[in-house]
């Protein structure tokens, strides 16, 4: 169990993280989403014991990352948003080196190196030099490095940045495997759809504030509830029909905002559910307005993200 309690971090006068509180259960694949400067990296660096919070606490299985950094480091695997690879070193030597730094025995190192190279699909590159690998491969090797001491919690900062779609999907596959073997994974991205596909739960941050935290389904539900209504009138229906439609909608109390997107396309923001939309449709038709399409426009996650961070 990972618990963040009112985590705050200031850089001079700038508050990068403002009282972030969060609980993440074991075995979750948890996504951190937010635009650049939202505080994702700051949070991850605090958890990785590389940064001290100005105030607040963070504990991993009851181990405080600030007070008992030494113990906490054994529980976490950290992969930053840069590679951090050495030249003139082979893949297995690279992993072996970090294994030695963690003081693993020769046998454990050999076992973990082979296992991890398999996991990240680099077994055939075992003896290749690290600097000869492609970006995607380096990224995967770094993932293997962060797993060498078999940590409980894996912190991945923007693991998909700069990857081509194929590399991304390979990375996703590996992360799913990790979840299956029971690791808690914390992953950040500034792209929500990328994470929503594989994460169990999400935290959306903006300007150091928590905007949303919960399961992906909860997020979708929250957003779809107030997805706008899209009303398309018959082509060439004339301005008078549009005007009467607008005035009709304005009379309906649960419609908060009406936008004319195209000559014959209206978008209405609403508060309320199915019943209210049915009522609106009835009203429009009873006034003889030529409605030919009436639906809630499905929110894609990109829109959700834009909307959520806008509100904050």
């Amino acid at each position: 169990m990972l618990i963040l309690d009112a985590l705050t971090r200031d850089y001079g006068h700038f508050r990068a993280l403002d009282g972030l509180s969060l609980e993440i259960a074991d075995g979750q694949l948890h996504g951190f989403v937010g635009p650049n400067g939202a505080g994702k990296t700051t949070t991850m660096r605090i958890l990785a014991t590389l940064l001290k919070p100005t105030s607040g606490h963070a504990t991993i299985d009851g181990v405080d990352v600030v007070k008992s950094g030494f113990e906490a480091r054994k529980l976490i695997g950290y992969m930053p948003d840069f590679f951090g690879v050495y030249d003139a070193l082979k893949c297995w030597e690279y992993l072996d080196f970090y294994g030695r730094c963690y003081r693993l025995s020769a046998r454990e190192r050999r076992r973990m190196t082979e296992q991890l190279l398999d996991l990240v699909q680099l077994a055939d590159k075992r003896d290749a030099y690290v600097d000869s690998l492609s970006r995607g491969m380096k990224q995967r090797l770094c993932l293997a490095r962060s797993l060498i001491h078999d940590p409980k919690l894996l912190i991945l900062d923007e693991p998909a940045s700069g990857m081509d779609p194929r590399a991304r999907s390979e990375m996703k596959g590996i992360l799913r495997t990790l979840r299956e073997i029971g690791k808690t994974v914390l992953i950040s991205s500034h792209i929500l759809p990328e994470l929503s596909e594989m994460c169990d739960s999400l935290t959306i941050l903006d300007h150091g504030h928590l905007v949303f935290s919960g399961s992906v389904e909860a997020l979708a539900e929250k957003m779809n509830g107030n997805a706008p209504l899209e009303i398309r009138l018959q082509e060439g229906c004339g301005e008078s029909a549009v005007e009467s439609a607008v005035s009709c909608l304005k009379e309906i109390p649960f419609i908060t905002e009406i936008l004319q997107e195209a000559p014959c396309l209206l978008r209405a923001r609403t508060e309320g559910g199915e019943e209210e939309s049915a009522q609106a449709l009835r009203e429009l038709i009873s006034r003889g307005i030529p409605v030919c399409d009436f639906h809630r426009s499905p929110m894609n996650l990109e829109k959700v993200f834009m909307e959520v961070t806008e509100d904050a």
């Binding site: 990785a48 001290k52 070193l89 970090y98």
Partner: protein, 301 residues
């Protein structure tokens, strides 16, 4: 377990073609020196005159290696910590619970190992003067020991500079400046007037010959013992007595005082003490470097 930083740095260093080139260049310089100084007697029978050229060869080899080591060490060490910072891998190491002192020690040992390789490679060339009987094997080994101490000291300065800087280039600049400063500051006692207690003894041949080595040591300014140049001069004087001519002149002031005291102490002993002091200072610098690694990563927090 062997320090992981050491073993993996050595692997990477030995894979670099640069290392082989450095060893080759090093040997070429040493061989060049021996040919220039002793070349005239290759294939001839030795006589008293030849003996002198053997002495020159030994002295110049020692001098050349001394300067080359001090010159090469910063280049070897500049990337040690600063390079990890440039590559952003220092944090990754710290996350593995590897203590800063362990990192610093591993890096220092690795750089020292390369210099050790150069010194050992140069040993056969250093033995050339043996063929004409100019020096003894034990003298050569004492010379090698001196070079090791110098290499260690220079590496420590370089590591300290590297731990203080963000980039490899800055690190090289800082370590050359530090080395120059150390050379200059520790030579400062030579510019001061010697005290009356010293002059009374040094210029009085009866008192001078009655001076015990430990008493002589107490008269040598401690700062001077840190100076690598002093160690070199003491070694050459102790082994070859090459400064004995200088000591005939009475107008040399401070320098002469120091030479006379050094002679009373015994040149090789003075060199040994000086090397010991340099080694201890080096170790202190490594501790400072570890503190700098810890401090700098904390500053980032």
């Amino acid at each position: 377990m062997l320090n992981p930083i050491l073993s993996f740095s050595v692997t990477r260093r030995m894979r670099s073609p640069k290392t082989i080139l450095i060893v080759a260049a090093w040997l070429a310089v040493l061989l060049g020196i021996s040919v220039l100084t002793m070349g005239s007697l290759f294939g001839r029978q030795a006589n008293l005159y030849n003996l002198r050229s053997g002495l020159t060869c030994y002295a110049v080899l020692l001098l050349a290696q001394f300067f080359l080591l001090v010159l090469i060490a910063p280049a070897m060490t500049s990337g040690a910590i600063a390079g990890e910072r440039e590559r952003q891998t220092l944090e990754l190491l710290l996350v593995t619970n590897t203590r800063p002192l362990r990192i610093v020690l591993g890096k220092a040992m690795e750089s020292f190992a390369v210099l050790l390789l150069l010194i050992v490679c140069g040993l056969p060339v250093m033995c050339l003067p043996l063929t004409v009987g100019a020096v003894t094997l034990s003298q050569i080994l004492a010379g090698e020991l001196f070079l090791l101490a110098i290499a260690f000291g220079a590496v420590c300065v370089g590591i300290l500079a590297s731990s203080l800087s963000r980039s490899t280039v800055v690190s090289s600049v800082i370590s050359y400046i530090l080395l120059l400063l150390i050379g200059f500051v520790t030579a400062l006692p030579l510019f001061a007037e010697p005290g009356e207690a010293v002059t009374n003894v040094v210029y009085d041949s009866a008192k001078l010959s009655a001076l015990t080595p430990s008493r002589a040591l107490s008269m040598i300014p401690p700062l001077l013992l840190v100076n690598p140049g002093y160690a070199l001069a003491a070694l050459l004087q102790g082994q070859l007595k090459i400064f004995s001519d200088v000591m005939q002149y009475h107008e040399m002031g401070r320098l002469l005082c120091e030479f006379r005291l050094m002679d009373r102490l015994g040149g090789q002993t003075a060199a040994l003490i000086s090397c010991g002091v340099i080694t201890v200072m080096g170790a202190v610098m490594l501790l400072l470097a570890a503190a700098a690694v810890r401090g700098k990563s904390r500053a980032a927090r």
